[in-house]
Symmetry: C2
Subunit: 359 residues, 2 copies
């Protein structure tokens, strides 16, 4: 078997490469040492020397692995009945659009929650780090939910939309009898992010929005944002709807809730054939928001609970399903949703103990 | 197939768990949400908000992946002849001994150089992140070289020691006809670290040391450090022999070189049956150091080049061999060397494109 080995040592002199043929003995086919560009070496040394912050990330990575393993144990499901774990981990950085970095255009994402710890503590093969593979293929590393939506909600005759209302709201459009490549997914605009910010920690069941006074002028002005008319794929985030948005607009809870409902409805309105909208995410608990959606959308509006998928559990289910795809050597991203050049087998497999049940 | 899914969202509310049975349909077996301890949540938010530093690590991770892939391509070996890559990546933090962290004892290590990028660019299955699995099993995550030393240098009749002189010097003791569990490995003390610091960038062939004046009083005082008498396993690093050591001792190059040779010889002297010492690492290029070792050590002193392993290529070869072990479902760590509770299948497997040659 011909195998390549790659390492850069702690002196950060450069990348040592060896290509070897391994059989009875080890035969070296080629070796090389390739220096780092000076600015890259400098950047590596700077993060290596920033002991406090880098140590915090390294230690958190291992600690979160422990906590994830304990969270699984807390369900009471016997670990020896579980064959595989898919762990998303905790995102601490995500930049799906390439940014200029040391002379290159680099998109990146960083999740922590050490999979080797989860695999060792549970004895179960663990797949983690799902987003980097999609980014490596030119995708944005998100959204990944469309694969689950497609598997769960695809219907031979009913065109459906899966709507997830997290901090940001996003939809997965699943035409009747869709093939994977027919699926479209994008962010519609604010989900709970603006509502939560103006009625912290959150407007329970939308009661405050229901009793509030709508600022029609502000609403019309905000709805004129060209984002809502742009063709998908498109994505938004805290950069658009974070603290700066709240300060600039001085928006109230009634107007925030109406903005959320109207921008979701606008996005769904692009697909007039849609017969059912299936809601998940924390926003599904907001009775007033759901009421507004039902008023604004032509299709029947229901929640994922109708399909046996609790509105709060859907993301965890997603990573179980993505791990299952990877385990079977199948791609987990939908290029039509993430913008990747091609389907990718997502994630990295940690097997743990050589004699463990998970191997 | 029963699969668990784990995620903590960007709002860092807690860990969502779902256990599902996946067959024709997806059946939810259990779900739970487990909150983070307040200090852990705070720490996660602090690294997520420290945009500059965390972004630097995330972007470097992807950039280094690109550079590693390009380094492999630069060897000119046809990528379609390579079946597997083992990438160590770039260590930016390593703390093999557990440290107090948010109320737990946490050992950790952090290598960057995104394997998903290497796998995608080359089309070759890539195994990376070898150290965390050993730490997860209670090991120090180092040294990993003993597995390679054992495979390369084990002899039915000759007791041998593999000596690597990097920044720190370490030995792997391989008794005649050894089983894996008979192998002992530990750091002997300074390698090139002190010599390089006092004769930067390095004392070519030991010329300056050879012409220098030995500070015998200082040497004797330094050799009295109880570290050198301590029973293995033991490890040392930049904490012992870095800038602070240089300032405190005001050591010169002749004394630094003699200290290096004498501490290596002391360690080897613990194993008087040894017949051959096989040197690798940058220190093997230092003719005067090698001369001193030959004078101080009873056994025959040679280099790994005699066995077809270039003294500078050994670490890269190591990660090719460790990837090969993982690929075949075999453990890569030697618990007697790292202190782990058990042998572990090291690393994480990235497969890349679903139709790629590496799958």
């Amino acid at each position: 078997m011909r195998v390549a080995g790659l390492i850069s040592g702690t002196s950060v002199d450069g990348i040592d490469v060896a290509v070897v043929d391994i059989a009875e003995s080890i035969e070296v086919v080629a070796t090389a040492t390739v220096g780092f560009p000076a600015d890259v070496r400098q950047a590596i040394l700077s993060v290596s020397n920033a002991a406090t912050h880098t140590a915090m990330i390294a230690r958190l990575n291992f600690l979160i692995g422990e906590l994830f393993a304990e969270a699984l144990e807390s369900t009471g499901v016997a670990l020896n009945t579980i064959e595989l774990i898919g762990s998303h981990g905790q995102t601490i950085f995500h930049e799906g659009e390439p940014a200029e970095f040391l002379g290159r255009k680099i998109a990146s994402t960083l999740q922590i929650g050490e999979a080797a710890v989860i695999a060792e503590r549970t004895g179960i093969e663990t797949i983690a780090d799902f987003r980097p593979s999609d980014i490596a293929a030119g995708g944005k590393g998100a959204p990944l939910a469309p694969m689950l939506d497609y598997q769960l909600f695809r219907h031979s005759e009913l065109p459906r939309i899966a709507l997830n209302i997290g901090g940001i709201a996003n939809i997965t459009v699943i035409p009747a009898n869709a093939r994977a490549e027919d699926v479209v997914a994008f962010d519609t605009g604010p989900g709970n992010m603006v509502m939560d910010a103006v009625a912290p920690p959150f407007d329970r069941d939308g009661a405050r929005a229901r009793g509030g006074q709508l600022n029609t002028a502000l609403l019309e002005r905000l709805l004129a944002d060209p984002y809502y008319q742009r063709e998908p794929p498109k994505s938004c985030g805290r950069e658009q709807y974070g603290d700066e948005f709240i300060r600039r607009t001085n928006i109230d809870i009634a107007t925030a809730t109406e903005l959320t409902a109207r921008t979701i409805a606008l996005a769904i309105g692009r697909y007039p054939a849609t017969r059912e909208v299936i809601v998940s995410g924390g926003g599904a608990h907001n009775g007033y928001l759901m009421e507004r959606l039902r008023a604004l959308v032509q299709a029947r509006v229901t929640t994922s609970a109708e399909f046996g998928i609790g509105v709060d559990a859907k993301e965890a289910i997603l990573f179980a399903v993505l791990a299952h795809e990877t385990f079977h050597g199948r791609a987990g991203n939908l290029p039509s949703a993430t913008g990747a050049r091609k389907p990718m087998i997502l994630g990295k497999v940690s097997r743990g103990t050589s004699s463990g049940s998970g191997a």
